[in-house]
């Protein structure tokens, strides 16, 4: 039973993958687990698809854990997946959303890195691919997308934590997502969840030029974070990546936006100001609960504003 997992704890990859099966078993008419490919070290990559039927419905993408040391991100993904499944049928808004749209969740976007943080280096951020001509391993999977690839805010050095990789989509973990999004062709929203520093961002990162939809994305972001803040008072900043953090090329939501997915956002989840990537597990459920309010706002907006 899904009741046997403790959502207020961090888990290994095996436990998370096994839990996905129990979720599918518990909600067989809503949830399916799909393998979208393998990681560099040959681990399967699974998305949970929430769908009430129909073919090629408009869809929302949510990924968590692309940076492996940001543990609260997949932990929030786990709670969120369970929330979506358990609230379907009782939450009228979520039910109407799932009656018209599908939700895809990739809870472990960087499985090799995640395992590595559990076994070898808790502070590992990147993938685990070998870099030709270097002893340093891994690529920053959020600098590897075909969006201003190799531009500002990404490193050319394989030893850097922000190494962009040899070419766009060189990382199989990135390519698997790109292939799925492209072959599906009907994603309307792309949300990437990181940690920490309490930000809700929209494109671009590879340039400080405003996107055409800046006003709308900013307004959605502000309304979403207002709901998030209403729960525990957690303060979020909203803006485009370039201005709110720094120029960062090759990011996932820049790619998704340039692919035509207008409602592209990236979260940086909460930090108490004392723990950084070591956010204590008793913060997982509060983080997930407040994040859900913002996520739900964005998803409802996407549902109500077809394009």
């Amino acid at each position: 039973s899904t009741r046997s997992i403790n959502f207020g704890a961090y888990h290994t990859l095996e436990t998370i993958y096994s839990w996905m099966d129990t979720l599918v078993t518990q909600y067989p008419h809503l949830v399916t687990k799909q393998e979208i490919g393998k990681s560099y070290e040959n681990r399967p990559m699974y998305v949970l698809k929430f769908s009430t039927g129909g073919t090629n419905r408009p869809a929302i993408w949510i990924d968590t854990g692309i940076h492996s040391r940001e543990w609260v991100s997949p932990a929030t993904g786990l709670w969120t997946a369970n929330k979506i499944a358990s609230d379907f049928g009782s939450d009228a808004s979520l039910t109407s959303l799932l009656n018209t749209m599908d939700i895809y969740m990739l809870i472990l976007a960087n499985p090799d890195g995640y395992v590595y943080t559990h076994t070898n280096d808790r502070m590992w951020r990147k993938t685990r691919s070998l870099n030709s001509g270097s002893l340093c391993r891994g690529v920053d999977p959020n600098r590897n997308w075909d969006a201003g690839f190799g531009g500002p805010g990404a490193s050319t050095s394989p030893c850097s934590d922000s190494y962009h990789g040899p070419f766009a989509h060189s990382e199989i973990e990135v390519k698997n997502v790109v292939d799925l999004i492209k072959s599906h062709g009907n994603f309307k929203s792309f949300i990437s969840v990181h940690a920490y520093s309490q930000l809700l961002m929209y494109p671009y990162g590879y340039t400080c030029t405003d996107v055409a939809d800046k006003a709308e994305l900013d307004s959605i972001g502000r309304a979403a974070t207002q709901k998030l803040t209403s729960l525990y008072g957690t303060y979020y900043k909203v803006g485009n990546i370039c201005n709110i953090i720094y120029p960062a090329s090759g990011g996932s939501i820049d790619w998704s936006y340039d692919t035509g997915i207008k409602y592209s956002f990236a979260f940086e989840l909460r930090d108490t100001g004392y723990y950084g990537f070591l956010l204590p597990s008793n913060q997982i459920i509060p983080t997930a609960t407040e994040t859900w309010l913002a996520l739900k706002h964005i998803m409802e907006y996407v549902r109500d504003h077809p394009y």
């Binding site: 403790n6 280096d121 502070m123 520093s197 100001g273 723990y275």
Partner: protein, 96 residues
């Protein structure tokens, strides 16, 4: 398994553009093996840096020399990692 005994995480609240520039110059300093958890981007956002124990005295001296105030938000990173690991192991045992 890599350990982080004695590594500290410093939080720096920047007060001027000059301090921002100084911190940004540190990002290219490879010798001290600094791990920027939050990068120096503006005076509005804090900067968090994981400093290996071997570079602690040097970096603290550097900050003091440049009148850049900081606080230690994690005294010993390995202690937190050990606590996290213990908790996970206990959860696993309970589950079994």
């Amino acid at each position: 398994e890599r350990t982080f005994v004695g590594d500290q995480v410093l939080r720096i609240t920047l007060q001027s553009q000059e301090q921002l520039r100084v911190l940004q110059s540190l990002e290219h300093e490879e010798e001290w093996q600094l791990d920027f958890w939050l990068h120096p981007v503006s005076t509005d956002l804090p900067v968090d840096i994981r400093v290996p124990s071997s570079s602690l005295s040097t970096i603290k001296e550097f900050l003091l020399t440049h009148n850049i105030p900081f606080t230690v938000i994690i005294e010993n990173l390995q202690e937190l990692i050990d606590m996290e690991k213990t908790e996970m192991e206990e959860n696993q045992k309970k589950k079994q």
